[in-house]
């Protein structure tokens, strides 16, 4: 009776100890540095990629008209407000003329006085002319002295000159009146083109310096996006390429556009290339000026070449390459990379051929002697 009891007890003990030992061995070999590194593998595919460039910019108006007086003065009235649509030639407001109207009245009076003086000169001249003609005839009949005739001739010449002076004076005063009227007209703030009032920088009563803008009018049809591309990823940027503009306020959908031009001057401080992107059709409603926009410029498709995901790229001893599956182990293959697209696919110019299997994701840093364990998806990463 004793032996079976002992056996049962031994069996129970083994039942406890054996799994414990098995678990211990598993733990010792399958975790920590001795465990194989889980990796995912992808085959190098020969495919065409369509590179694209991404930049950000702000919405700007291509034409901005800053309307203000040419002389220092005070704003008298301003008829438009921000957001108003204006027509070409529309009077937007007026500067205070101060003494200009009085000066015009004075000028008009001066013209009248000059006209009176002109009439006087004309009367004098016609009398002098008649006198001179009479004395000429008297001289022919020897009824007067030559001296008197000369005097009359001189009087006629003086009267002619006085008349010319009076005429010129009238013209001068008229011109001066015109000048004053022009100045008076210049006090009106007129829209040069049809557009939208974007800013109203001064209100009636404000004194402003010459050249300071009172109203800013933009041409809404001329909106563009002033875009900045990092120089390192601006290869292939050219005028005319199609672009997609995503406005910060309308993230869900992009607006079609194209590259209008690349600025000849880049930003040397921020190392960015500047470009202007125009909309194919102005977005409705109009985005506010200064709104942030993300711009994606599509480049042409490249011919098919061996392509890898950019997550496969590693740097080992300062060389860039990928871990290639060679037999049961790994071999580091240095590569020369070509263009890449925004989805993270990179063309390989040298170092790999289509069909090679390379490590894409790995749990830990790999080495040539790493034991690997190929999985579909790394643990802990949701599908």
């Amino acid at each position: 009776m004793k032996l079976p009891r002992l056996q049962r007890r031994t069996l129970a003990l083994i039942a406890v100890i054996a799994p414990l030992v098995a678990l211990f061995l598993y733990v010792a070999l399958r975790s920590g540095p001795l465990a194989p590194v889980a990796v995912t593998v992808a085959a190098v595919q020969s495919q065409a990629i369509t590179p694209a460039l991404a930049g950000i910019g702000t919405v700007q108006a291509r034409y901005t008209y800053k309307i203000g007086p040419t002389y220092a003065g005070r704003v008298k009235r301003l008829d438009v407000h921000v957001g108003d649509a204006v027509k070409a030639g529309q009077v937007l407001g007026e500067m205070d003329p101060i003494d200009l109207d009085d000066r015009i009245a004075a000028q008009q009076a001066a013209i009248k006085s000059a006209q009176a003086a002109l009439a006087q000169s004309e009367a004098r001249q016609s009398f002098a002319q008649a006198q001179a003609a009479r004395y000429e005839q008297l001289l022919l009949a020897r009824a007067t002295s030559e001296e008197s005739t000369l005097t009359k001739r001189q009087e006629r010449a003086v009267a002619d000159s006085a008349l010319a002076a009076a005429r010129a004076d009238t013209i001068r005063l008229r011109a001066e009146l015109e000048a004053l009227r022009a100045q008076r007209g210049n006090l009106r703030l007129v829209a040069p083109v049809a557009g939208l009032v974007a800013a109203r920088d001064a209100d009636p009563g404000t004194t402003i310096v010459a050249g300071q803008a009172v109203v800013e009018v933009i041409d809404p049809a001329s909106l563009w996006v002033d875009t900045r591309f990092d120089q390192i990823s601006a290869e292939g940027l050219a005028a005319g390429l199609p672009a997609t503009v995503v406005l910060r306020s309308r993230r869900s959908r992009g607006v079609a556009g194209r590259v209008l031009r690349i600025e000849p001057r880049a930003d040397a401080v921020t190392e960015e290339t500047l470009a202007k992107i125009v909309f194919d059709a102005p977005p409705v409603p109009l985005p506010p000026l200064g709104e942030l926009a993300e711009v994606t410029v599509q480049l042409g498709a490249l011919p098919a070449a061996p392509t890898i995901p950019n997550a496969a790229i590693r740097t080992v001893d300062g060389r860039r390459g990928v871990w290639k599956l060679a037999g049961r182990g790994l071999a580091f293959a240095p590569v020369v990379l070509g263009r890449s697209d925004l989805d993270g696919r990179v063309q390989v110019l040298e170092g790999l051929a289509a069909g090679d299997r390379v490590v894409v994701y790995s749990e830990a840093v790999l080495g040539a002697r790493s034991r690997i364990h190929v999985v579909e998806r790394l643990p802990g990463v949701a599908p």
Binding site: V27, A54, T315, D343, L378
Partner: protein, 399 residues
């Protein structure tokens, strides 16, 4: 010959195994403590590895960029790039901040990586899912520990970033997971205040008569624009040419550029020796205390087990068993207890390690050392019990 120890263990094996399991959990905690320390050191190493740099160029006389704040102009890298022996130089920024997703937020170290291609210094060296950043703005690669998944939109300051790639074990020296974003965004995030603060700053500037002069239109705008820029980064990461040594490259930069340059060893010294020194000591003290407690408990258990069978030992003595045999029995029991404890401890710590919020790194050498330490403790602990057993009067067996 029959094994006295084995027979005795079998006699009450359930109690024995459970005692061993209890002891194992205690040993597990001790091993976890060691793992925590290793994990902290590994966090520091991982931070340095992930930057992929051979040299760190930082503001003069600072311990930056990890242990102290450092800022250098963002066009400095051009000058450093031309120094002899430099293969690559890249700007980098580090900012520990709250990264939000929806209503929750996570503490993370936001790393600003310079534009370019994967493999440049500062870029995440490997991913576990997704892809590397391809756009110059508003994309992020996040660590799995942040809890973000591919396609999530996260918020740093006022900008939103789409998670395009995931990493594992990319952490700062304090264990915060990393979030990689493009450098220009990171510079902005580091400097950019909230909208209210910007507005108030503008108002203050407007109120200053020196800047808001009616006769000089445009001055105010220029001043405000100059306040809103950030042309600084935290460090320049340098990768050197294979033929150059770090010292050769670092010395001219120190001398002629008048900046502080650290190589890998110095950086590790700063991180391990300065940044985590106190926490490491703290854990060290805990480790010693736990070891003492374990030793005391083992001694106590063995003592109790021996006292339980004091009559049997007296009988053994009565029938003329040699002292050596009795001592061997107690010693063997003690060692078996230690082995069970160690096995249970090792298993429990391995399964418990991923549950800890901070990284617990289990190094094989720690396990081996731990095993021998446990055996040594068991041997020492059994000494007391053996002394009592040998002093037992055989008369007790019949008394």
């Amino acid at each position: 010959m029959i094994s006295l120890a084995g027979r005795d263990i079998l006699h009450a094996w359930g109690k024995f195994v459970f005692t061993g399991v209890g002891l194992g959990l205690l040993i597990g905690v001790t091993l976890t403590m060691a793992g925590l320390y290793r994990g902290m050191v590994d966090d520091a190493r991982v931070l340095l590895d992930s930057s992929g740099a051979d040299l760190w160029v930082v503001q003069k006389d600072t311990l930056g960029p990890y242990a102290e704040s450092s800022s250098v102009p963002d066009d400095l890298w051009r000058g450093i790039r031309t120094m002899p022996g430099v293969a690559q130089a890249a700007n980098v920024t580090y900012l520990t901040t709250q990264v939000g997703k929806g209503s929750q937020d996570v503490r993370a170290m936001v790393v600003g990586i310079s534009a370019g291609e994967p493999g440049a210094p500062g870029w995440p060296p490997q991913l576990v899912a997704g892809r590397q950043i391809t756009r110059g703005h508003y994309e992020a690669v996040a660590d799995l520990a942040t809890g973000f998944r591919l396609g999530d939109v996260l918020r740093i300051r006022r900008n939103h970033y789409t998670v395009v790639g995931l990493t594992r074990r990319m952490v700062s020296s304090s264990g915060d997971p990393m979030v990689f974003i493009p450098l220009k965004d990171a510079q902005e995030a580091q400097f950019l205040k909230d909208n209210d603060a910007i507005l108030m700053q503008r108002r203050r500037t407007e109120a200053n008569p020196a800047f808001n002069r009616p006769a000089v239109p445009g001055l105010l705008e220029a001043v405000i624009a100059s306040q809103a820029g950030n042309a600084y980064v935290n460090a320049v990461l340098v990768r050197i040419r294979p033929e150059a040594t770090p010292q050769e490259v670092a010395e001219p930069i120190r001398r002629w550029k008048r900046l502080t340059v650290y190589d890998r060893e110095q950086m590790e010294g700063i991180l391990v020796g300065k940044l985590i020194a106190t926490s490491a000591k703290q854990i060290g003290v805990f480790l010693v205390i736990l070891a003492c407690v374990s030793a005391a408990i083992v001694a106590f258990i063995i003592y109790t087990l021996t006292m339980d069978k004091i009559r049997e030992i007296a009988v053994l003595k009565l029938i003329g068993t040699r002292n050596r045999t009795i001592a061997a029995m107690i010693l063997q029991q003690s060692l078996v207890l230690g082995v069970i404890g160690f096995v249970v401890g090792k298993i429990s710590v391995t399964f418990a390690a991923p549950l800890f919020p901070k990284y617990v790194l289990l190094v094989p050498i720690d396990s081996v050392l731990g095993f021998f330490a446990v055996l040594a403790i068991c041997v020492l602990a059994s000494v007391v019990a053996i002394r009592i057993a040998l002093r037992v009067d055989p008369a007790q067996a019949i008394g």
